[in-house]
Subunit: 468 residues, 2 copies
């Protein structure tokens, strides 16, 4: 359909809904933070209400159009890219913060509210919205819920799921559902709210949510520790968890440190190099907490697991120490990293990393790998950097071969091929490593129940079916 035809069709059928068929808009709204696909949507639509979203979904059903629900488009799995002439439905004009009740400690938000906006709103009420990650300044609550976003405080506060007290959803069939309505307890049949969390836009479009806010934590302190081995990392994690009240426990390798120092021009934190570093953040409400933290540190030194360390003495120094961890992703972005977002049970992390190192050393000794991750959640980000002498295409091909080995190992350890980035288009071929055929068949049937004509995010999440 020509842009002019699309234009008049939308104008006629969706009066009052903003849209664009402008090439620049199509390019901009047709992609997320992945760069493996060419955006090719037919139109971008900006609904301003749940009712307008319903009109759009109903029209798509009538005309056989496909829709791509679109949040902040900060995803790493191509869940929000539009490559097949879809209509992108962006929620960015639905960003009102609605009713807040201090007794319920719940706030109504439209799906387009930015994560940071909600964090700031909570602060203004003397409360706390704990979900936080690098893209908090541009990711949207609707997208966070659709991907069950995690981040750097999952260890203490859990994923986005924990904070969803209610949802308004337009299903693929065009029905408006009001799920759970902010109730703490509600044992009235199947919990469709929890089914929507992490559903990546294949069942319905989340238009509004009631988010739960919590008490703010006490003042936090930060330690940056240098650790002698991977086994030491796990022992120090167990020790820290027993001695202090942890909010974060983030691991990175010496290579990761090298990249972030170079890019941000940061000083070496310690005189000697160590193989592993950890940033941990924990409650420091007074002298008792301070003493416990020092006792933890001394115990780790005595055991030979901690080689050196820095204990933040101010909010400013805490912020500086976090830089060594937070800057990693950005510092390797120009090196064409092939990203793996993988998880195993926490207890299996050492075995997993050892076996993974063996695979990488044996088959791909020329690849540089940069490790970092949320060790307290068993979630590791394995970044493979492109050797200079390899073309991007060859690099990608070889990385996909690496993935086959990595995912085979993950399957044998009952791990996850996508810990917090979702499935989208990129991880779809690998889903059977983490989910059985019976599970995938059930997902398809659930998809068909919510979206009988398959108008929502077609081709995402569920592996392509082969004829048998």
């Amino acid at each position: 359909m020509s842009a002019a035809d699309t234009h008049s069709l939308l104008q006629k059928n969706l009066p009052g809904v903003d849209f664009s068929t402008d090439e620049h808009a199509l390019q901009h709204y047709g992609r997320d933070w992945t760069r493996f696909h060419t955006p090719r949507p037919e139109a971008v639509l900006w609904p301003r209400s749940t009712g307008q979203v319903q009109q759009i979904v109903r029209l798509a059903n009538k005309l056989g159009k496909s829709l791509v629900p679109s949040g902040g488009r900060t995803g790493y799995s191509a869940g929000a890219v539009a490559t097949r002439g879809e209509w992108v439905v962006t929620l960015e004009k639905m960003r009102a913060i609605g009713e807040f009740d201090p007794i319920d400690r719940q706030v109504e938000v439209e799906a387009g509210v930015i994560t940071e906006q909600l964090q700031e709103f909570a602060r203004q009420q003397g409360l706390f919205y704990p979900v936080d990650f690098a893209s908090a300044g541009s990711s949207q609550i609707g997208g966070n819920i659709a991907t069950n976003a995690g981040g750097i405080r999952v260890l203490r506060y859990g994923m986005t799921r924990e904070y969803v007290a209610g949802l308004t959803v337009v299903t693929g069939a065009g029905e408006i559902l009001h799920l759970n309505n902010g109730l703490v307890k509600n044992a009235t049949g199947l919990d469709l709210r929890h089914l929507m969390v992490g559903s990546e836009g294949v069942l319905g479009i989340i238009t509004e949510a009631r988010m739960r806010l919590i008490d703010p934590p006490p003042p936090q302190s930060v330690m940056l520790l240098a650790l002698s081995s991977l086994d030491a990392v796990m022992r120090v994690f167990a020790l820290a968890r027993a001695r202090v009240k942890l909010s974060s426990f983030e691991l990175f390798s010496h290579k990761a440190l090298t990249h972030v120092r170079s890019q941000r021009e940061l000083p070496a934190p310690f005189e000697a190099n160590s193989p592993w570093y950890v940033v941990l953040e924990f409650d420091n409400a007074g002298p008792a907490d301070e003493e416990a933290a020092l006792a933890f540190f001394e115990a780790g030194m005595e055991a030979g697991d901690i080689e050196d360390g820095i204990f933040s003495q101010s909010v400013e120094q805490a912020r500086q120490l976090w830089q060594y961890r937070e800057g990693i992703s950005e510092s390797i972005a120009h090196l064409t990293p092939y990203k793996n977002d993988i998880a195993v049970r926490v207890s299996k992390v050492p075995e997993f990393m050892r076996r993974l190192e063996e695979i990488l050393q044996a088959s791909y000794p020329d690849f540089e790998t940069v490790w970092f991750g949320h060790i307290g959640d068993g979630n590791l980000h394995l970044n493979i950097l492109k050797p200079e002498n390899l073309s991007v295409a060859d690099f990608q091909r070889r990385c996909e071969a690496v993935s086959a080995d990595v995912y085979g190992l993950i399957e044998s350890l009952q791990g996850s091929i996508s810990a917090e980035h979702g499935v989208g288009l990129l991880k779809k071929p690998y889903l059977p490593h983490s989910r059985s055929q019976a599970e995938i068949a059930l997902m398809r049937q659930i998809k068909a129940a919510f979206d009988p004509n398959g108008v929502l995010n077609p081709g995402k999440m569920l592996p392509d079916q082969t004829n048998t």
Copy 2:
């Protein structure tokens, strides 16, 4: 089918699976804690493994038999009763506690493990399983998960859902699913684990689970407070939540106190009567906590909201104070209580209770009502006691008329007609007051995906369909 025919059919088709067609067993295993239905199962089966459960489900599909999954049968909604010649599949011989990993803090349990057994196991590991309620000595983990059990500490620790890190399930189609495998983060498509939690045996039979254990809380203290009005209750709740670290905040009415005192021969806790009482439990790790609690109490007294109070000075006294709340259900059991387990958002509790009192006073002035509940969760148990001069049948009929009014009010406040007791058979007709027709239609389709021949718990949860 005669008992002898059933006997030989089971013996032939399920070698190695224990079963009984004995009348006493049928009566015993065919009912839960409700007493509104006559048990009439055809057989009781005792599988000892997930594989045996699968054999049973496959045979039921082949022969067109119906199955009732059966835990501790402590439910209040008739979700586990068998009235139509079903086979009761009791998990009580699957009560092994399996692998425990101290790093993951997860333990594998079979579905028949008793709640108290898991609480005790956690204690032995220096950890804590926080879900607790009156029937913890006989309820089973599988049943807790299938009903998303709540109880007295939801305010602090949430429902059973929070502690389910992995599930093994046999679907109605006879497929074995291993869901989530104990991962903290796993963004690989629709989360079927969360769909199973609270599914009341209509999608699959939960056979094993990986349960998450947590740090034990600091020492707890208890206060019993006498409060001047319902508005005072809400203000004292807000004050307590701001000043102390609450584990429980449990409300009951003066009538409830009268019944429990009479049945347990307890002394009057206070010299004067008050309309409402609250038991609260909170952290008391040292002098700072103690001072905060006293400051809270004094602030409540000064405001005129707290009329009197007792602060436990020992573990034994804490236990004694809890009796005034814990004994209520038992103390009214002989008075044929008609139980409602209802919830609204916490902020709507005062309005809800006022409007409910108006309904009861206007239409049913001869009914005695006993209120208690988990005020911090918005969950109230409204018990209507049978007047002496009314027959049981007439009482039930009139209570059902009350329910229509009560549920209408709940619907207008977007509340829940079953906060923690589930739907089962008893609440099924009322489900549309809490869930829309579109939601119920989706539930039916999900049920059909998991259980295409409808062998699992037929007639439960989903309202009967009328021909249109």
